[in-house]
Symmetry: C2
Subunit: 346 residues, 2 copies
């Protein structure tokens, strides 16, 4: 198993990427390829006590760096010798099994779609983060495709279900459609049409669709896979993050009030640690980009070495999971019949 | 000031409605009319120590009750002698200044729209709850109108701004469009077109539009008015509620672990009280229904007497705020020019 890493992506690049790759090579038994500016990668290695890359760790030089200032949609072709483009080409050409980047989400999404390409028949890629909710449900899509059709959502449901089954080890994952009411017929035209498609897929035994799921219940762990268009999925995810951040801040204030409350914090310190761990995105590692023909993981921009290590572990799991094969084999059930007139145009 | 109350609406009806009305009459100096089954209201009054309604409290008998089993869209006309329909007609006929109900949201929304009617020129009604976030931002729409056009959202922005100004006392409230990125051009076609309309309204000095606001920043109090279509607004609200509920539960677990942690809870008890108060929907009272020609407040279904009292206070404030007058005076700036062909059809 060989994981290609965008050494130059993220707020703490290349240091945290190098650190994460080192840990992965040492602890997880995977090979890693760090793609980026060779001298900077070597300097980071030296800082971490390695004069040369240890066995299992390769460096591939790429002279350019994609930054947040670049146009996300075109960065990968304007900077052909960037760690992003070079790394994805390595994966595309079979010189690695998966790609991990903590760089710009938009640039990674465009590059993955256009360099590595989507799985044949998949209309749009989707971001599928695991959420810090009971049971660790995944959300698909969290913002890759803002505007969706029912067919996109049908495909997201299948891909999310395969992810929960093959990577999270959940047999028969419960798939819910994010909606503003549990009853059939709720929501906009998009949800109503999607509901019918998911119900049919459930009746045919292809996914386990449990119906609409309200945001409140989804947060409390009612389903394993939350299907949403990228716009509302992103609203859902960011509201969850913002609320957790806000309440964690309020809790901190509560404990910092005076000597007595500070003492109280010491007395529940193990609980506070669990609470922090619950909200710590580093534990999961990163977000899978589903629908791409090769495994791609987006690590958080602020990832440290530990988060990158976990993203590499996730990428390795993804690469050996068979999700992409499952999608390819079942693609005919994930597509709507093309209208006659449209078919004639093709 | 006379507030009409749906005595039969909500999980704790009529008791909590009667209790709330009693408190309002005694503490807030407003008159209240309890509409519903006379004998039940009198029984509740007796339970609360009143053999007869005190001065300022009237009872209007209505023999029917709208329940959660009724069809929300048609309940008000199928049950013409319900507390909902009778109460709204009283407000419509000028026999009261505002209406408060803790009953079914859907039934109230249909009834308010069709009995009391919308303000002339307003396309759709919206629910505008005050959120438990820093600064108490309001969200408009929280789910009354799932599918929206840019014009609806323009109207929501104006109405939300008037609410924040006149009821919450915020001069020049910051209006933000809920979106998946701060930059112009983010989101779906709906957000893009709405952004242009809100920007124009800002340039003309009619509202203070601060641009797109991401869900995460909205939760942290970045704006005073969060404009959203009912579908994504509801996702936002329910995610916020669900996350708060989940984390409050985790915190409770943390403190209940053993004797030491329980002692610790006692030491931060004032902080825990503040924390609970922060998340307590009873403090605000209810959610304003904006766009209706008369003030209508939806109280939470699980309201107790204290929550109903606060909803009545909010209704009184709404009735004397001049919001409906402001909307009426400025309606021409809140409408899009009708296309020529469409105009010919009218």
């Amino acid at each position: 198993m060989k994981i290609i890493i965008d050494a130059m992506g993220g707020d703490n690049a290349p240091r945290s990427n190098v650190e994460g790759a080192l840990s992965a090579v040492r602890e997880l038994g995977v090979e890693c390829v760090l793609v980026g500016q060779g001298d900077e990668i070597l300097a980071a290695l030296r800082e971490l006590g390695c004069d040369a890359p240890p066995p299992g760790l390769e460096i591939v030089h790429a002279s350019e760096v994609v930054t947040m200032e670049d146009n996300a949609a075109t960065a990968f072709k304007e900077k052909k010798d960037s760690s992003l483009t070079v790394g994805l080409n390595l994966v595309k050409d079979g010189k690695g099994d998966a790609f991990v980047s903590a760089g710009s989400t938009g640039a990674l999404l465009s590059a993955a779609t256009l360099v590595t390409k989507r799985i044949r028949g998949i209309r749009r890629a989707a971001m599928a983060p695991q959420l810090p909710v009971p049971g660790g449900a995944i959300l698909i899509d969290a913002g890759a495709t803002a505007e969706c059709t029912p067919e996109y959502l049908l495909q997201f449901a299948f891909m999310g279900s395969y992810y929960a089954e093959h990577i999270q080890g959940k047999p028969q994952p419960r798939v819910g459609l994010l909606n503003i009411g549990a009853e059939e017929g709720k929501g906009t035209a998009l949800q109503k049409e999607t509901h019918a498609l998911l119900k049919k897929a459930d009746e045919e035994g292809r996914i386990h669709f449990t119906g609409n799921v309200e945001a409140r219940e989804a947060v409390l762990g009612a389903v394993d896979v939350i299907v949403a268009d990228g716009y509302s999925g992103n609203i859902f995810l960011k509201t969850l993050e913002g609320t957790a951040l806000f309440l964690a801040g309020e809790m901190k204030k509560m404990f910092k009030k005076n000597l007595l409350t500070k003492l109280s914090a010491v007395m529940v310190s193990s609980g506070i640690r669990d609470f922090k761990k619950l909200l710590d995105s580093r534990e999961v590692g990163g977000t899978a980009l589903l629908g791409i023909s090769r495994p791609v993981i987006k690590a958080h921009g602020s990832s440290d070495g530990y988060a990158i290590r976990n993203a590499i572990a996730q990428a390795a799991k993804f690469a050996s999971s068979g999700i992409i094969e499952s999608v390819t084999e079942n693609i005919e059930y994930m597509r709507l019949p093309v209208m006659k007139e449209e078919a004639e145009k093709i």
